[in-house]
């Protein structure tokens, strides 16, 4: 067995991205360790999603590097990889959960086909096996098995989001990027998805980078937190520490702005 803290799974050094003269994010440094969930919080326009897209290889940063410790290839610079490699990595070792499930799902095909796509992309060619795996995953994300052949268009928003999670996790990724996975859902549905994510992260020993503007979500799911403002990381630390004893003025404002219920 490997030592517990062998090497960081994801290692980010001096990452920066601008759009023209606008700075989207700059000077981002962090390490993500196996099994860890890192939250990125901040207001709209603070560069959270741009940073996430740079991490996942969907956007090319101008400065800095993202090093991922791949199970198949060892440590690789995500942005130095060939497109073929990067795409292979992103559908085998990674997952990406979009805020809008429609972007992450194929709306025109059944739930089973959605879950099975990653399996088929890496060579699964047994219909019965694919279907069985897809049903198992529907179970795990708490969708009734008899909805397997229904299209996601017939699903509710919460179910779509859970289907998207299943579709990503079926290939047993090691690292999942999540962009506001509970955004736009009502509170009870949010709670259910958070619950699900928390148990899946634990049972599958997933690492995750989670972007959210909801401090409650961050508190529930993440181990560590980075607070962004205007493209820069203004504070980072253990989630409870950051939320209970915020040091930076902006973080204090964020924490104070949570409505007491």
């Amino acid at each position: 067995m490997k030592p517990l803290l062998s090497a960081p799974l994801l290692s980010v050094r001096g990452l920066g991205k601008r759009f023209g003269a606008r700075v989207a994010c700059q000077d981002v440094y962090f390490d993500l360790w196996p099994g860890e969930v890192l939250g990125i919080v901040g207001e709209s326009g603070s560069g959270k999603t741009t940073l996430l897209n740079c991490l996942a290889g969907r956007l090319a940063p101008e400065t800095g590097s993202v090093t991922y410790d791949s199970a198949a290839y060892g440590p690789v610079d995500v942005h130095e990889l060939s497109e073929a490699r990067r795409r292979l990595l992103s559908r085998t070792e990674w997952g990406f959960v979009n805020q809008d499930a429609r972007e992450g799902l194929r709306m025109g095909v059944s739930a089973g086909a959605n879950i099975g796509e990653r399996l088929m992309a890496v060579g699964a060619r047994h219909y019965g096996d694919i279907r069985r795996t897809a049903s198992d995953w529907l179970d795990r994300v708490e969708i009734e098995r008899d909805r397997l052949d229904d299209r996601p268009t017939t699903y509710s928003g919460g179910m779509r989001q859970r289907l998207q999670i299943a579709r990503n996790l079926v290939s047993r990724p090691r690292l999942v990027f999540m962009d506001e996975p509970t955004g736009g859902l009502d509170v009870s549905v949010q709670a259910r998805i958070l619950d699900l994510l928390r148990s899946l992260v634990g049972s599958l020993h997933l690492s995750a980078v989670l972007v959210t503007h909801d401090l409650g979500v961050a508190r529930l799911l993440t181990h560590r937190l980075m607070v962004m403002q205007g493209g820069a990381v203004v504070e980072d630390g253990l989630t409870d520490q950051v939320l209970d004893d915020p040091q930076h003025a902006y973080t204090q404002m964020l924490v104070a702005s949570i409505l007491p219920v």
Partner: protein
């Protein structure tokens, strides 16, 4: 129109000018070198509408010579309007002999069928292709489909087959059934029935595919493996019929169902007219 347009100088030989033919030949050579890869070419306006075989006719024009014997079939038949027109066109502008006999032809331009008579070395089969991109219905972006081909990312094609089984209990695609060429590129075999797919596999004849509207040429060189996509537990199958051909009695050719009177009386006959006729007159065939 005079008797022979090529001779009196009204047109260049085989209708297209020499530069165009060279350009198309270059595309064909590249297509042959990379089996199943869609090579763009500068498609020209042809004297027939898109959808009637403008791609096929340009490929034929680029490869045909005076020594060739041309056969043209449409849905397996030699005597339909499109087949007759294209055959007459080339007889006129390229001064080639034409035939309906499969084994006599050196170039066979076809739409929707592969002849029942096995093809041999030295024969060229030219397909007319309406939609060359097999992933088109699954991924509308051309930039993305090209990337998928380049990276050999074909999960989405399998997804469509999965969906077909989930919905219909079997792979319901009956024509234009996607194939994997030489273990590398997924290719649309043009709208031939899946019945004909096995004939493409390791065929001794050269197969050229021309898509006029989308301006793509692709090819399968002789003896190239062509595999129809399927699942391990839902293997590829071809159509079968209860009946045999009403005219020639063939049990192993592709049958068309025809309604012959107002009472809905139906008849099953070979779609390949040459094959059917030759079976009915064995004496002539032996000549």
């Amino acid at each position: 129109m005079t008797e022979n347009n090529a001779k009196d100088g009204a047109y260049n030989y085989a209708y297209l000018d020499e530069q165009t033919k060279r350009m198309i030949r270059r595309a064909i050579l590249k297509a042959v070198a990379v089996p199943g890869y869609q090579v763009p070419f500068g498609g020209r306006e042809m004297p027939l509408p898109y959808g009637w075989g403008t791609g096929g006719i340009q490929v034929t024009a680029a490869i045909i010579g005076r020594d060739d014997t041309l056969k043209v079939i449409d849905q397996g038949a030699d005597d339909t309007t499109n087949a007759v027109s294209i055959r007459r066109f080339f007889a006129n502008v390229a001064e080639v002999a034409t035939t309906t006999r499969t084994e006599e032809a050196t170039v066979i331009q076809t739409r929707h069928r592969v002849p029942e008579t096995p093809l041999g070395e030295g024969q060229i089969l030219v397909f007319q292709v309406p939609i060359p991109e097999p992933l088109r219905m699954l991924e509308p972006r051309e930039t993305e489909t090209r990337t998928l081909h380049a990276l050999s990312e074909y999960g989405v094609m399998q997804v469509s087959l999965y969906e077909s089984i989930a919905r219909h209990g079997r792979i319901s695609k009956g024509y234009n059934y996607p194939v994997m060429v030489n273990g590398r590129y997924i290719m649309s075999p043009s709208p031939i029935p899946k019945f004909d797919n096995p004939k493409l596999d390791r065929s001794p004849a050269l197969q050229l595919y021309g898509a006029g509207r989308e301006k793509r040429i692709y090819a399968v060189p002789p003896y190239t493996p062509v595999k129809s996509l399927d699942f391990d537990d839902h293997p590829f199958e071809i159509e079968t019929w209860q009946q045999c051909c009403e005219l020639c009695g063939s049990k192993d050719s592709f049958l068309d169902e025809m309604i012959v009177d107002d009472d809905g009386k139906r008849l099953f006959v070979c779609s390949d007219t040459d094959y059917c006729e030759r079976r009915r007159t064995p004496a002539e065939a032996a000549e």
